[in-house]
Symmetry: C2
Subunit: 329 residues, 2 copies
DNA sequence: AACATATATGTAACCGTTTACACATTTAAG
DNA sequence: CTTAAATGTGTAAACGGTTACATATATGTT
């Protein structure tokens, strides 16, 4: 390993001067600068970030904690975070929490032990006090919070829109699939939908689900049609569940969207490739990741923050699991 | 921040003793150990990994470089790697390369600068010499290599199986969608399929594609049916492309699998949720990630390695875009 | 010419660990 | 009872950077 001392020796100056050249601070003569840079090139020197981090008590690392990268919604988020952080010269220390408090704490610990400059967390754990006495800035992602900086999509509005759109398109016996209780965004969606439907004169059922896993989703789907066979509209808790519902409905020979309309949530990439392609409420996942990263970088740089909470808009994506709206009605 | 010095002071011993307690090496009296542990608990001390890493010249960090986490095949790999590394107490420094040599080099640099103990790379870049003079162990994942440790699925065999299965099921005018030239595994699949089809007396076409992106995939699909409208069997370069083909075929009103059979590659999670669900060649992505992590950990620990190259088997997943095989014929 | 200021560079302390080495005390062995 | 080995602990030097401080020279100002 070539160190700053080797560079100093080769260029005939002190380590302090080399450091000044590398960090472009303090006075250093142009000739000296060139000599040093020549030595740097020749020796292929690149500074040890660990030593830097130790002295400065700050690394160029950012902790990213997601529930599960295997859930198709999160790669987009992760990519948004990464792309933005990359620009600022930050790198990502990554972990999956599985919404498990112990794992989460474990990762927060590693983050701290590795001197990360900031943390982006998308977990929905109740154990918020894990974050309470952190001296490192945290931004929550895909999770509402009034006391922490956070970036999220307007889930409640999404729920409202979904309900309005499915009603507008003529569903009369709607089933809302309510997502896991501990996932705040899922509850927001549900509340939004509930608000609209309860103020309408439409029949509806609520069915509670406890996970977003593929395998479970197929079970809920079967159960849904067994319990409420005359349902003609489903508001799914997310696109995975919606896909399972679609799958099951087609298996049962239902004609979509004629007999049954389905609206998902998230707009994961593969939703557009289903057949029929899935109508859904789009969350701008990539942008959410970017926004979170930008917000965190601002906080790290102690810039003035206008909005601690960034709420991004959701949009209805009108594909083929919903009927065309009757413009005469 | 509470340091080892604070613990030493509180427990009335030297830092060396505290260090010995924490690392359970060297002699330390049981009473002393207890005193120290009490102080550790009381002060909620947890060692600074950066300082440790600086002295030891080794961190507990592993670099993971993937082409693009947004491609649904990679989250599984990543998760396999993470779960296994987690067990060994290692954490993940993560990056997307976009198969871009500059980004790749950039990440390798950060990995080194941060004293990672090892690297897992799933990029297919030609710039192999980036890895040539690395003093850190590297395991390649989803990428064949004779001169480096690597973990991959048997792509060629997968290609063969796909071709055999589609022929066995009666397709007569087959189109092979050949994946991007620089992606080695894609070429292996293609070679396998080509081998079988060229030895058969079945008509087939080859169509070259240059990416695995969702948006592009739909273009290839349209082009495929415009160019070869009488195709009755498609061997897709992966499940994303297969999904696009399926989508387009349904849009054109083709009956699947009666008029057209499709076999994908990878078995990404959503393939089973398509309608009709996608027949495909399964790569055990999660296991591949785990294997790569295990191999890397072994190398790090200087254990004896029996096999530098780990090839995992692929399997045909017989779903509904292929016909049932005629057991009488 | 005298003095202040800007420029240029080096020395050494520091960041929070680990560990080589020194030293003291106990325990074991003969 | 002597001596060697095992046990227990502390001091200080690393690890590879950054920076406060000291010092020296160059430049500018009156």
């Amino acid at each position: 390993m070539v160190t700053i001392r080797d560079v100093a020796k080769k260029s005939g100056v002190s380590v302090a001067t080399v450091s000044r050249v590398l960090n472009a601070n303090g006075y250093v003569h142009e000739d000296t600068r060139k000599k040093v840079m020549a030595a740097v090139d020749e020796l292929k020197y690149s500074p040890n970030e660990v030593a830097r981090s130790l002295y400065k008590k700050k690394s160029k690392l950012v902790g990213l904690l997601l529930p599960d990268i295997t859930n198709p919604f999160f790669p987009q988020l992760a990519r948004g975070v990464e792309d933005e952080m990359q620009k600022g010269g930050y790198r990502i220390l990554f972990g999956n929490s599985d919404e498990n408090a112990e794992k989460e704490l474990d990762y927060l610990n590693t983050f701290i032990q590795n001197n990360v400059v900031g943390i982006i967390s998308a977990t929905n754990n109740k154990a918020k006090n894990n974050y309470r006495d952190l001296s490192i800035p945290v931004v929550f992602l895909d999770r509402t919070s009034t006391d922490y900086p956070s970036v999220y999509a307007d889930g409640k509005e999404g729920g409202r829109i979904a309900a309005e759109e499915i009603v507008k398109r003529g569903s009369k016996r709607i089933t809302i699939l309510k997502g896991p209780a501990h996932i705040q965004p899922a509850q927001d969606r549900f509340q939004g939908a509930l608000e609209v439907l309860s103020q309408s004169n439409i029949d509806f059922h609520v069915m509670s689900t406890t996970s977003f896993a593929f395998e479970d989703a197929e079970k809920w789907a079967k159960e849904l049609f067994a319990t409420y066979p005359d349902t003609d509209g489903v508001l799914a808790s997310n696109d995975i569940v919606a896909t399972a519902v679609l799958h099951e409905a087609l298996r049962l020979g239902k004609s979509i969207p004629v007999e049954l309309q389905i609206i998902g949530f998230d707009d994961i990439p593969q939703s557009s490739l289903l057949f029929p392609s899935l109508s859904t409420i789009r969350q701008p996942a990539y942008e959410m990741g970017k926004e979170a990263a930008q917000l965190l970088v601002k906080i790290i740089n102690q810039e003035k923050i206008h909005q601690q909470q960034v709420q991004l808009p959701v949009t209805f994506i009108d594909r083929n699991t919903t009927r065309k709206v009757d413009t005469n009605g």
